[in-house]
């Protein structure tokens, strides 16, 4: 059937449409390639200009060439037309081209629908709370455009359509939430279009000199951790990531050809175990982080023989998992092949290394004494902890230990591990994060990339694997306080800064923490919502026995209920409210009819009053006064609030006695 309001012209709409389109595309400024952004801005500018100067409006051929050049531009920038980045760019180009020619109602519909799609492409780049709120508002504006083309006259102001749209949106929120909670999440993509071009920051599985100091430049959040009980002290908060066994003298790694036998390790823990939740940002690596040492693996991963949490696939989505760890532990006996691997040496040993270790060995009676000697060595000699160490080329460990003596945690950890192996003590390198900032508002820790750290583990006969952090021997404050890299200047040395900024700085910091706390809740309940949550929720509600079909029916029922509530609400909302004066007058008539004086259908208030007064002369003055007020309020030119109030109060007080008593009785 033909649309009813179809023929109504919409000359006032292209400008709001262009502006809303601008708002829709704004967050893409950071996501899309610069030439694509320039193209979009140019076309939008052209559109807005052509609305003021109609002769600038492009003709069909010009539009066609703009379309072709847009597609070509996207292709040259991304070398494809599918996948996340190219797809988002192509959609943005489509939107802007549709807006260029939008004049008819049909075009506006299509533009708005495309811009709905553009909204969700933003979430492939950024999922922050702020952006989501912004895009929600943008969606309301887009929908308000639809509202505008379905009425006859344009809205008198901006608020009317926006408020109506906001109302409709709010009424739709319950449905959205029901579907969000219930709709089954599929853990693997339907088809793989590539995970995007932007590299994710985080630890890599290979330590080369300088690898970690690069990370220190970044304040990006690696993960957040929330303890179920009181958290351990900063010196104990070593977040274990991965363990590196092998070295070629230059870099450290774990040879993928020689995977560790997966013996589940038995730990005797002396202290109490700590339960915590981790909200891990996607880092495109297959390992999870845990507090040193993990006692058991979460559902998503397995616990390896060297206490790593490993997954089958790299993590590309935010993940929440529960951890259980202890900081005070004894590990079981070392297997022969593990011992062999933990003693393996690279070919770049020098005589001065051997001499050094031999000196320690001679003076130490056992292994743990030797470890202490080694730490003393780092402490007593002029070692410097710095983010900008000199570049060690040929034999980085040797040059660092004996010449430069300036280094970052990876230098200390690798050097120490190598010396331990030389001394015959099984040792390995551990990568992870250390410390983390406590967020008081949310009661959790934020661990950022600049908290990345490397340390060693040595095997001592009486204690098993023991964590040794040689960096702490040189710069104990590194372990107690977080580093803040000076992000303002590229390459400037990182400073140890204990946060005592001014009042403004501290307020700002507080605000930032509050905002981060909101973001965490957002991540936990919205972004990180997963299949596991769904299952645990259903189990928690005791509904896990239901089949998917039953769940489908329940969902439909819930949505129908929600719609019913909205339907009843909007039906009642519009019901005619009777003029209160009439209702009050009717009450007056009811009181009189109790006395047997009924108002006849044809009788006007005046006639009724005359008749009633004749029947009950004792009430005549009251009846006359009330009727007079009623006539004045109902038919008079102005109704005064004072009259209205006196009218209601007089009717309220009008309680005539049933029987008429003559006064002289």
């Amino acid at each position: 059937m033909k649309q009813s309001v179809e023929r109504i012209a919409t000359p006032h709409l292209p400008l709001p449409l262009s502006l809303v389109t601008g708002l829709t595309l704004l967050p893409h400024g950071m996501n899309l390639a610069m030439p694509v952004n320039l193209y979009l801005v140019a076309l939008l500018g052209w559109r807005i200009a052509s609305l003021r100067l109609p002769r600038l409006q492009p003709g069909r051929w010009l539009l066609l060439s703009a379309t072709l050049s847009g597609v070509f531009l996207v292709y040259t920038q991304y070398h494809t037309l599918i996948g996340r980045d190219a797809g988002a760019a192509l959609l943005a180009v489509m939107l802007i081209l549709k807006v260029m020619e939008a004049g008819k109602r049909r075009d506006i519909y299509v533009s708005v629908f495309i811009s709905y799609f553009v909204v969700i492409t933003h979430f492939l780049f950024d999922q922050s709370l702020l952006l989501s709120l912004y895009l929600l508002l943008v969606m309301v504006c887009q929908t308000a455009l639809l509202l505008e083309i379905n009425r006859v006259k344009p809205s008198p102001n901006l608020y009317q359509p926006l408020i109506k749209t906001l109302l409709i949106t709010l009424q739709s929120v319950p449905i959205a939430l029901i579907l969000f909670v219930v709709f089954p999440r599929i853990t693997h993509p339907l088809w793989n279009l590539g995970s995007g071009s932007s590299a994710m920051t985080g630890l890599s599985d290979r330590v080369t000199p300088g690898a970690i100091s690069q990370l220190i430049e970044s304040a990006e959040v690696a993960f957040r951790a929330e303890f179920k009980q009181s958290p351990p002290a900063a010196e104990q908060r070593y977040w274990r990531g991965l363990v590196l066994w092998d070295t070629d003298g230059y870099s450290w790694y774990t040879d993928p050809e020689r995977p560790l036998a997966d013996t589940s390790p038995k730990i005797t823990h002396l202290g109490e175990s700590l339960a915590y939740d981790i909200f891990l940002e996607p880092h495109n690596r297959p390992w999870l982080y845990s507090l040193d040492l993990p006692l058991k693996a979460p559902n998503q991963a397995r616990l390896s023989g060297d206490f790593q949490l490993l997954m089958e696939k790299p993590l590309t989505r935010p993940l929440r998992y529960a951890g259980l760890s202890t900081t005070d532990y004894r590990t079981p006996k070392l297997s022969p092949d593990m011992r062999q691997r933990a003693l393996q040496l690279s070919g770049n040993l020098t005589q001065r290394q051997r001499d050094l270790v031999a000196r320690w060995r001679a003076s130490a009676m056992n292994d743990s004494r030797l470890v202490e000697k080694a730490l003393d060595y780092f402490n007593a000699n002029p070692f410097v902890y710095t983010l900008t160490p000199p570049i060690y080329n040929d034999n980085p460990i040797d040059e660092f230990l004996f010449e430069g003596r300036e280094g970052f945690c990876e230098h200390y950890a690798t050097g120490f591990t190598q010396l331990m192996r030389l001394a015959g003590i099984p040792a390995r390198l551990v990568l992870g994060y250390q410390g983390g900032e406590y967020n008081q508002l949310g009661d959790y820790f934020i661990i950022r990339q600049y908290d990345a750290h490397a340390w060693s583990e040595v095997w001592l006969a009486e204690r098993g694997w023991v964590r040794i952090d040689p960096t702490a021997a040189v710069a104990p404050e590194r372990v107690r306080y977080s580093i803040r890299s000076d992000l303002g200047e590229e390459g400037s040395p990182a400073l140890f800064r204990i946060d005592h900024g001014g009042v403004v700085g501290s307020l700002f910091h507080q605000f930032a923490l509050a905002f981060d706390s909101a973001n965490v809740q957002w991540r936990r309940w919205v972004i990180g919502y997963s299949r596991e949550h769904q299952f645990s929720l259903m189990r928690g509600l005791g509904f896990d026995f239901l089949s998917p079909a039953q769940w489908g029916l329940i969902t439909i029922g819930m949505i129908a209920t929600s719609l019913l509530v909205v339907g009843l609400r909007i039906t009642w909302q519009g019901k005619r409210r009777e003029a209160p004066i009439q209702a009050v007058y009717r009450r007056f008539c009811r009181r009189l009819s109790r006395l047997g004086i009924d108002r006849l259908p044809h009788e006007g208030p005046m006639d009724f009053a005359t008749r009633a007064s004749r029947r009950r002369p004792d009430l005549a003055t009251q009846i006359k006064r009330i009727t007079g007020l009623y006539i004045r309020l109902r038919y008079g030119p102005h109704s005064r609030e004072a009259d209205r109030r006196s009218f209601s109060s007089q009717v309220r007080l009008f309680r005539p006695p049933r029987r008429y008593r003559k006064r002289n009785d």
Binding site: Y109, Q127, L135, R151, Q171, I175, A176, L177, L179, G567
Partner: protein, 323 residues
């Protein structure tokens, strides 16, 4: 255009709002039909695409936004429905027209609710009437222009109210039948002279008020007097509206007799008679009408004209009632 039989059959089951005692209708909850529009279906497809994309990229926010949009899609049904619910429609008037002209049915749309209504279109079959926005507790006059083809009484056909407010995703409509009839006069024939010569009758009693030859005097203006007879000069002197009275020694009278017309089709004769009435009125001749079963005495003026034309329009229909 012949309606499909299925269509006709379906029409019998159509829910319509029926007039109340005062002749008006109001839209009842269960008489509203609602279906997605083309745009609504397009958006449904877009939502499915968005869902596919969100699943593929595992974007929970994408899911959330998609579901919100789906919720809006569903909620729009209710709002579109509500936009029609409870609207009142009352018949107002329709002026008589000649066959072939367009009848202007005027209806009053009343919004007795605290809710503004927008984008409501009145339609009759394929003919679109006015589209209006009606604020809360307000009313608007709507016109529906329906072309006429044949003389007789043209009842207002089943009308429908349409809306796709707020979002244009759904199209809600409802049918109503109002008792409003347009009297359609026969279409005046192209040309022709009355077959009978004017009959001149002497008037002994004086014929004030008849004829057009001699000025007789002035009298107060009465509605129906020709504006040409108004004494405008007197009016300019602020003596009020006065009509000039003319008289003559003879009265020109036209007898319009069915039997005197050349034998032809009934409708053709009626349309000839119609033309003669208009012509006589124009020439200010008095005329009488005689058609089978009915006779109207000679007379003049708009009331007389209307009576004659009505007789012509109803010819045949009245015969049936007589039988």
């Amino acid at each position: 255009m012949p309606a499909l039989p299925v269509d006709q059959w379906l029409r019998r089951f159509r829910r319509r709002a029926r007039p109340d005692r005062r002749g008006g209708v109001s839209v009842k909850p269960r008489s509203i039909y609602i279906l997605p529009t083309k745009q609504g279906m397009l958006l449904a497809v877009v939502i499915l695409l968005m869902l596919t994309g969100s699943i593929n990229y595992g974007s929970n926010l994408g899911h959330l936004m998609t579901f919100l949009l789906g919720g809006i899609w569903l909620t729009a049904i209710l709002h579109t429905w509500r936009n029609l619910l409870g609207l009142g429609l009352q018949p107002r008037q329709v002026a008589s027209v000649f066959a072939g002209q367009t009848a202007d049915f005027t209806l009053l749309m009343v919004n007795v609710s605290a809710l503004d209504r927008f984008g409501i279109t009145l339609k009759c079959k394929k003919i679109s009437g006015d589209s209006v926005d009606i604020p809360a507790n307000d009313q608007r006059l709507l016109h529906l222009l329906i072309p006429t083809h044949a003389r007789g009484e043209l009842p207002l056909p089943d009308i429908s109210l349409h809306t796709s407010y707020p979002l244009g995703l759904f199209h809600a409509w409802t049918y109503a039948r109002l008792d409003l009839r347009c009297l359609v006069y026969p279409k005046p024939a192209g040309s022709g002279e009355p077959p009978s010569a004017p009959v001149y009758t002497r008037s002994d009693t004086g014929d004030r008020g008849f004829g057009a030859d001699d000025f007789v005097g002035l009298r107060n203006f009465r509605p129906g007097d020709s504006p040409r007879h108004i004494d405008w000069k007197a009016h300019a002197r602020e003596r009020g509206l006065l009509s000039k009275q003319f008289g003559g020694d003879r009265t020109e009278e036209v007898r319009l007799d069915w039997d005197l017309l050349p034998k032809s089709d009934q409708e053709k004769r009626l349309s000839l008679l119609c033309r003669f009435i208009l012509q006589a009125e124009e020439r200010e001749q008095s005329y009488g009408l005689r058609i089978p079963g009915q006779k109207i005495e000679s007379g003049m003026g708009s009331v007389h004209r209307q009576r004659c034309l009505t007789t012509l329009a109803r010819f045949g229909a009245d015969n049936e009632t007589i039988r």
